[in-house]
Amino acid sequence: MTTPRTHTFKQSPEEAYARFEIEPTPYGDETSHEALLHLLQRAEKNISKSPFRLVPASFNPLDPSLTAFPRPLQSEWQSLRLYLKVLESRAVMMLLPLFWQMESATYRVCRDSGLLFFVADISNTPVNSLAIDSLTIDTIITTTQDCQAVLSYLSTKQRNIPRSWVFVHSVDAVPQHIPPEFSTGTKVAQEVHVFPGVPILEQCGSLIERRAKTFHASDSYTWVFKSDRTLITSAGDDPLPFIRYRLPFVAIEQGVCVCGKAEIEYFHE
């Protein structure tokens, strides 16, 4: 286990939370998921008063407690930029639920990288598979669940499987890794999001090359690894920062990657 690092806010948690006219959890305690949701719900009425991007604070559209998590206007999906470079992508399909609010961030990375970008209709697998052929899509950004739907269809139609995939895992889902249908040449980058569009565990080129089940902790957070819990605190400019937020899994360091960062595997309680 590593020693907890000192977190460095650009603004104090108190200042950040004051914008939303709410009190943070007293420092030193951990913030449970329920407590965070409660804070976000209390912040709702003031979110529209300041300029933020919003993402849903749940991966489940039917979540009765669905609320919003504010993100800085300048937030970018930096890790995707690396993945698309490592995967040598040329044409990208985004196959993620639109309500996750990830279209804009994905488009900007693809545009800056000079890649074609197609937003798939998640309910229309036949058209999506046609797009893979017509647009020579070589990279699909999706979840493992929706990947299976595409693979089943492609298999039925005896079509080729795109060579590169980026999997977005929900923090509360048991990770499913490489589908058996993938050939040894199929490359996969994976990351874990705490909310849609908020990555906390990422991969480097080496982990992608090795098809590793391990991740690196995002530098956007400071981490506390304990034997029975894992906590994150926002280290960057989250408008409503996580403060010792307890993740729904226990993360364990599994050595050091060639890139110099700790390799992390996680297990749900």
Partner: protein
Amino acid sequence: MNDLERLRELIAECTAPDAPNMYRTLYGMRDGEPALHLAGWHEWIKLPLVTKDLLTETPVANRFFASNTDVEDIRTSSGTSGKTPPFILRSIPSGLEYRLQYHSFENPILASNVPCMPHWHEDLQISLGYAPRVIAFDPIHAAASVRLARIAGVDAISTFAFHVPLIGKLMIQEGIAEQIRLIEMCGESCTRSLFDFIKRTFPNATIIPQFGAAEIEDKPVGIPCRAITGEEPLSVYHTKPSHYHEIIDSEQEIVLPYEPGTEGELVITSCSPKPRATPLIRYRTGDIVRILPEKCAAHNQLQFTLIGRVSIDFIKIPGGMLRADETERVLRVFNGEITDRFELHRYLRPSSEGQKVEVILYVEPRDQNSPEVLNRLAERIAQELRVGPFRTYSEGVEDGIYLPLTCLPITSTQSPTKSKRMIAH
């Protein structure tokens, strides 16, 4: 630069020896032949028309005239004839400044992927000096999207016309319908019943139409002359400066005079600013328009209104579309009881849960046409009739989106031609 000079330049660019070969093939040009030089209007009107079928049959690489970085979005059209839909690469749209006279776009907007992608709305807000705040509307998870829209404080909506009833219902539930100041609708003409619904649901909203098409990168096809106020015709447009419009007799493919009273299929050529990802020269839109007697008062241009499709073989509905070929297929399943002649009418009926789709299918029974027989037939047709890859009409009824399908006997006055089989009210 006059129209002919602009078109001449466009033709030369699209038929250059190193250009993608769609137009060189269409115009029957030989390898190595220099770019086509348009001598005058007499040659222009002889140029073959571009159709959706041609786009479908032409591989993307042969009709992609820009680089990847110039592509703002990729669209697929509806696939109106049962064929594989074409995928259209489109560069950044131009000529959408007219929207600013109706709304400031300072506050967050709820935006579908059409007519413009959510990121495009963000770019517009940034260009106007505002924070980029857009909530992407997800029709599959509409309630979740509208929940986020409420938290964001949206005051505008940009979406398909047929999504407006659902959004309206959800915004009433979230208590934000009255804060909406702008509704921009595309995909189909605003009907009187939809207009009435919007005025009731969003009393403070200005409604503007967006006439575009998935195949046309230089959207919109026409610029709205005014907001939709209830004055007939509800949606009127004038030509965009970067477009050259022609109206043709769709059966004989003869160019008709562009003057008040003319009615025919709109053919457009887009001389949009470069880069042009998928330039269209003499593209048959499939839309029937009528040029109105009066000029657009605000813009001093001839104005036109959209009156239908050349061959309506599909009607979009929430959760999918009603297709003529699919309807025909299903009717043939019941070949012993009915012929495949039909006329399908789609209505939007108000209900306590917002508007619902109702379909009345006029059919030709071979023998009995008692109400009981037709009622049973309607149930079976609804179970067979697919409105999307994963949904039948009856599943839409179970989901509470559609009202039960009704079958009635067709009369001699109905279905005079195949082009009038699918009617949206």
